[in-house]
């Protein structure tokens, strides 16, 4: 396994759309192992997308299991993920390994349903909410060339978040 260098904005590859994975082979699994090691080596990181290391394929890893008192599915390898439905809106603070030294507020769906393939190409389906749903939406944005910077909302004048 190897640590992969993480691209940082303004690297133009972060603004590109990634392609679907079509071959689920040993090379893919080896890349995913490297991607996961890269995520684990980042302090506080809860997700990573393949384009963040320069591989323009629709692969993300999310693992929010280190956060106390939240619902989650543990370690998730999501290949060709598709969000099928969104519900509710919640504001939360986000940062990104690809945008060092900056954080900002972003509005995300509170709960989503998601289809994806696992590392072996088997179809999977998930219902998720809260912090895990936010992490998945953040990572899926990377697959479409979107950073949280593209979704920032004002810090001022949003004192009391509206009830859902």
């Amino acid at each position: 396994m190897a640590l992969l260098p993480v691209l940082t904005f303004p690297d133009p590859r972060l603004k590109e759309r990634s392609n679907p994975v079509e071959v689920f082979d040993a090379e893919l699994q080896s890349f995913i192992a490297d991607l996961e090691q890269t995520l684990r080596s980042s302090p506080g990181g809860v997700g990573i997308a393949a384009p963040q290391v320069g591989r323009l394929q629709r692969i993300v890893i999310v693992d929010v299991s280190g956060k106390p008192n939240i619902q989650h599915h543990g370690r998730l390898i999501l290949i060709n993920p598709e969000i099928d439905s969104w519900e509710g809106m919640v504001k939360g603070r986000e940062g990104c390994m690809s945008v060092p030294d900056f954080t900002g507020n972003v509005i995300r769906a509170d709960s989503i349903t998601l289809r994806a393939h696992d590392v072996l190409g088997q179809p999977r389906q998930y219902d998720m909410r809260g912090y895990e749903a936010r992490a998945v939406q953040h990572e899926c944005d990377h697959l479409d060339g979107l950073l949280f910077l593209d979704r920032l909302v004002s810090r001022r004048h949003d004192l009391f978040p509206r009830k859902k």
Binding site: G45, K67, E94, M97, R155, R156
Partner: protein, 172 residues
């Protein structure tokens, strides 16, 4: 290169930011972080400026445009620490009927309970006869968030609405 903090304050009008930053750019300055906003009909600029010359040269560079827009200018030589943002872990929103001492009371108990304020914004809203005070603070809870939460109880008992929200920054 030296870093300076420019403070410019005057009656609000259009084109202040464009004219000031054009003069700085033409004078060879680079800009750092800034906060600029309208406060009660005044416009306030706080702007980090990187400049090779002295404070006197920088003052000379900007004085004509500042005077033409009736802005009061102040310049401090500073130690600039870029790329080292402190991450806030808590936000506190406060609102209530405007009365003397809200800010002192709230920030006093928060300071006592370990809050390091990183950002504070406030507005006087409502009407002249019935003003309300709205304040938003972000900071770092150096003695933990439960400490801040219990400290705010005394504020709530005085009829001031306070909401404390932990900020859990998602890094993806």
């Amino acid at each position: 290169m030296h870093w300076y903090m420019l403070t410019l304050i005057g009656k609000d009008r259009p084109r202040i930011v464009a004219q000031i930053t054009a003069a700085l750019f033409e004078g060879g300055c680079n800009l750092g972080e800034a906060s600029m906003l309208r406060l009660g009909g005044n416009f306030a600029v706080m702007l980090m400026v990187k400049f090779a010359g002295s404070k006197a040269t920088l003052t000379h560079l900007i004085t004509a445009v500042a005077e033409s827009m009736e802005l009061h200018l102040h310049i401090d030589s500073i130690d600039a620490k870029l790329h080292q943002h402190m991450l806030p872990d808590v936000s506190i929103s406060v609102y209530g009927a405007d009365r003397a001492g809200i800010v002192a009371k709230v920030t006093g108990v928060l300071a006592e309970a370990g809050l390091h304020i990183l950002d504070l914004e406030s507005d006087v809203a409502g009407t002249e006869t019935s003003p309300i005070y709205v304040m938003h603070i972000e900071g770092k809870a150096q003695q933990g968030i439960p400490n801040l939460e219990s400290a705010l109880d005394s504020i709530r008992q005085q009829g001031i609405e306070v909401r404390l929200t932990p900020i859990d920054t998602l890094v993806g």
